[in-house]
């Protein structure tokens, strides 16, 4: 594999408790940074933009199903913030589709793995983020997955 994409996952620990549940299934060509959140309402526009600045080629936010947020409306707030950042990215021609949001039920590992594979597949078409800081794209596959 000659290139490594970088993916940031912001996930509510109500969906999956920790990254050990999905990181092993990540495509080795994709460097994954997983950021746990006590509630998806913690997602802010700045965090999503900073992830892209830090070189993310794609950013995804995983929230619990609508109506299931333990704090009431965290996942609804997260969705609105993601939509706003998507439209800002479209406005600067960086493609809002680099940013996605998925609903996952508690412990729904198989959906998480399916989503990871879908995003990895989409990254090839989307290409690298031209606005991120330079990263070492020649990194060997499977060596760079980590958490931050």
């Amino acid at each position: 594999m000659s290139r490594t994409f970088r993916l940031f996952i912001f996930y509510c620990t109500r969906t999956l408790e920790n990254e050990a549940e999905f990181l092993p299934a990540a495509d080795p060509a994709v460097e994954v940074h997983a950021i746990p959140m006590a509630c998806s309402s913690m997602v802010k526009d700045l965090f999503l933009l900073k992830a892209l600045e830090a070189g993310a080629d794609a950013v995804t936010v995983w929230v619990c199903p609508e109506g299931a947020c333990r704090h009431g409306e965290g996942n609804l707030r997260a969705r609105k913030r993601v939509q706003r950042v998507q439209s800002l990215l479209d406005e600067i021609d960086l493609y809002g589709c680099r940013l996605t949001l998925f609903h996952l039920g508690p412990g729904d590992r198989s959906s998480a793995i399916k989503i990871l594979r879908e995003i990895s597949g989409d990254l090839a078409g989307l290409g690298e983020n031209p606005a991120g800081i330079q990263k070492d794209r020649s990194k060997k596959q499977g060596t760079s997955n980590n958490t931050s």
Binding site: K44, D45, L46, L49, K50, L52, E53, L88, L89, E91, I92, D93, L94, P130, A131, G132
Partner: protein, 222 residues
């Protein structure tokens, strides 16, 4: 508070295009409350500008700074060193703040990043409504504390137009009919008879229509 919203990013990019060192300057009072220009908005806009400039291969260094109020020289002074390090300032304050910063730093270009919109209140989280036009001659006592100059689409001063439906304005169906609110208010106060007093046409001379205004408090001047 003064309510405003950030300008479209394309407009901001066009305005700032000639500059390579830009200070994004926030204001921690009104525009912070309406999510247009506080510290968080400064950080997010700076991040977006960095992404846009990197994508376009344009060299742009951005510094972020937020003062308590951009409409007061004592607070603006705190930004002097940051201003000096940059070529231009993108102010996220209201129009008054932008002008105050420009006056303080005459050799620097100061650009507006916010569209100043109205004087209003926070109705509920994320929703701001216009409630005062700054007319310079407050008549709220005549209307039970609800302002028809600012909140009636037809600026009616002697009762409703008759077009409201279920308490909503016939011009903007999502807006309360201000006369419905005034009558409710007088009913609650037991002062419905106040409505019999004829209110003459408003003198707009003390408003902006009479030209730019100035307020002088002699006891605070020397």
């Amino acid at each position: 508070m003064i309510v405003g919203e950030q300008k479209p990013i394309k407009e901001i990019l066009n305005m700032t295009a000639p500059h390579h060192r830009l200070l994004v300057l926030g204001c921690g009072t009104c525009v912070k409350t309406c999510f247009a220009g506080g510290e968080d908005e400064v950080a997010a806009l700076a991040s977006l500008l960095r992404l846009a400039s990197r994508k376009d291969g344009r060299s742009l260094h951005i510094e972020e700074f937020t003062v308590e109020r951009q409409c007061e020289d004592a607070f603006i002074a705190e930004a002097a060193e940051a201003v000096a390090r940059n070529e231009a300032v993108l102010s996220l304050a209201c129009g008054a703040g932008v002008q105050a910063v420009a006056r303080r730093f005459p050799r620097f270009r100061v650009l507006p990043g916010v569209n100043t919109t109205f004087l209003g209140v926070l109705e509920h989280r994320g929703v701001f409504t216009e409630e005062c036009s700054g007319c310079g001659d407050c008549q709220l006592a005549l209307f039970g504390g609800v302002c028809p100059f600012s909140r009636c689409a037809k600026k009616l001063l002697n009762g409703p137009c008759g077009g409201s439906r279920n308490g909503k304005c016939e011009v903007h169906a999502d807006t309360d009919c201000v006369w419905h609110l005034i009558i409710e208010r007088f009913t609650a106060l037991g002062r419905l008879n106040d409505l019999r007093t004829y209110v003459p046409p408003k003198n707009w001379q003390p408003s902006l229509s009479g030209g730019p205004r100035k307020l002088i408090r002699e006891d605070h001047t020397l």
